[in-house]
Amino acid sequence: MRSMSVQAPTQSPPPARVITTKPRVSDRIFRAIVTAFSFSALLILLLISIFLLIQGFNTFREQGFGFITGFEWFTFVDENGVETATFGLQAMLVGTLVISMIAVLIAVPLSVFTALFLTFYAPEGLKKYLVTIIDLMAAFPSILYGLWGFFVLMPMAEYWAQLINKWFGWIYIFDVPQPIFSRSPFIAGLVLTVMIIPIITSVSREVFSQTPLDRIQAAYALGATKWGMIRAVVLPFGAGGVVGGSMLGLGRAFGETVAVFSVLNIVFRSNFQILFTQGGNVASMIIQKWGEATPKEVGALMAAGLVLFFLTLIVNFLANQVVTRTVKSGR
């Protein structure tokens, strides 16, 4: 046997070989088609922005910054056919924020409770049914929520609003200039609450179920009760995911149209007295004005659509960042 001496390598290893294959034509075509279709998403988003901007451009030019900050929305055609108009979105933007915040404030605790129940308390058989029910909730059309909200929820909610006003009316937001409680931001917020619970619950549930088992065991081994363990381990771990899910819910609430339109009295005034029958949100305002809009007004509504588009884009972008970072990385 030839003697083999083993020596430590004295030179640096040779450079790695570059591995290439010649892609077949059919694969090239395949990749090209698939890539092209994928970029259609980009194309669509760009087109939306472009076309809405084109239509809304005049509005932005004429109204300037007042489009965002102004409170009035009217158009007036004089006898010469000259149209003067003022379009200001602030009331609607404020309204959007108000009802979305109400929705998030009520939906987040309910969703977190439900997600905790599903992950840590529900027996196996029940769990599957509950998950199905929540998925079903997500599939209901928004106009169904509008109908139900108006005919079923509103009568009850008006009564609650009266109670809140009676006991807490000394706080500004619970006070009302007149005792009219129907079609208020409060009720719109409640309808939105119900609509965003599925998404917040799903995201929270996903992150709670990923809580590392060894930390859970460490808490129990120290003599923790189930709630003690949840507080010490699950909630800190899942906080990011819950926040991300809430922001996704917020984004959904921003853009909701027909459900809000059905249960809200749209008035161009920033109204923080949520129990009172005055409010608005950009999306339902667009629907409301569309039917009788003059061409100039159509442009303004397009501009409003663009503003709404960017608003929801930003919120959803931030939300997805938060969700991806916490849920996927499993902190």
């Binding site: 590392p212 060894d214 460490a218 808490a219 081994a221 120290l222 003599g223 009760t225 800190p236 771990f237």
Partner: protein, 299 residues
């Protein structure tokens, strides 16, 4: 095979069959430990922990059969044996962690100071305060600081302690970590090395003043340096509490324990084959299977 089996007052089972086997280096280590250890007068620890006829099932699968062991107060007992023979399952029946896995069941009794911890009506969270556990993978709570981690057991149990910082220092010192972290108690626990994290977990377990400390392969994820430090800690701790340690590392068992129990499964449920003083298990085991394992013929 016939043999006379007697039980001395410590509860360890002795047999009059005396097999001489080639002493491995393990037995030297164990012998040295037995010789050098001075059993300092232990504080009133009660009568220790005792398992009687413990069985464990995962759903229908019988994982552990009829294990009876007596852990005397103030001793260190090592549980050794090949993978999958039920050592971890057994140790989890000792502090009622076995029941967290769905569809598990058990039989038998586990007595702490003479009282069965599985009795109905008992508050299991109180049991776990008296029987603490350290896990294989260090698991400090990352959302808490080092100081908060140490005190977390108290917070979870809602126990009030007159002087928290004193307790913190004491536990960290006993765990052998005080000098390394005393200036950064407010730092997050995630920044510590593996060995440090494990010592933090030990300190955390000590803070609630347990009578028994269960350790499930505490060093298997650590480097040799940390392992040695933790073994020193175990020696110190055993002066004031009872320790049960599961280990894959026979040298470790020889180094730290007073008694060793050998577990084995022949395809069926895991059973405890033999228990005795450590130096005897390693030098003169009574069962062939024990001998084969400690001499490295399998496992």
């Amino acid at each position: 095979m016939s043999e006379n089996i007697t039980k001395n007052e410590n509860g360890t089972i002795m047999s009059d069959q005396d097999k001489t086997t080639t002493p491995s280096s393990l037995s030297d280590v164990a012998g040295a430990r037995a010789a050098g250890a001075s059993r300092v007068g232990t504080r009133a620890l009660g009568t220790g922990l005792e398992a009687r006829g413990v069985h464990a099932w995962f759903d229908k699968h019988h994982a552990l059969a009829d294990v009876s062991l007596d852990f005397s107060a103030g001793t260190v007992t090592a549980l050794i044996g090949p993978s999958g023979c039920g050592k971890s399952t057994f140790i989890r029946t000792l502090n009622r962690m076995h029941e967290f896995i769905p569809k598990t069941s058990m039989a038998g009794q586990v007595l702490l100071d003479g009282k069965d911890i599985y009795e109905s009506g008992i508050d299991v969270t109180k049991i776990r305060l008296q029987i603490g556990m350290v896990f294989q993978k260090p698991n400090p709570f990352p959302s808490m600081t080092i100081g908060e981690n140490v005190l977390s057991g108290l917070k979870l149990a809602q126990l009030k302690v007159p002087n928290q910082s004193e307790l913190m220092e004491e536990c960290l010192t006993r765990a052998g970590l005080w000098n390394e972290v005393k200036d950064r108690l407010g730092a997050h626990a995630g920044g510590l090395s593996g060995g440090q994290q494990q010592r933090l977990c030990i300190a955390r377990a000590l803070a609630v003043n347990p009578k028994v400390l269960l350790m499930d392969e505490p060093c298997s994820a650590l480097d040799p340096g940390s392992t040695l430090r933790i073994e020193e800690t175990i020696s110190e701790l055993s002066k004031t509490m009872t320790i049960v340690i599961v280990t894959h590392n026979m040298q470790q068992a020889a180094r730290v324990s007073d008694y060793t129990a050998f577990f084995l499964s022949d395809g069926g449920p895991g059973q405890m084959i033999e228990v005795g003083p450590t130096n005897e298990i390693f030098s003169r085991p009574k069962d062939t299977r024990t001998e084969n394992y400690v001499t490295g013929r399998f496992g």
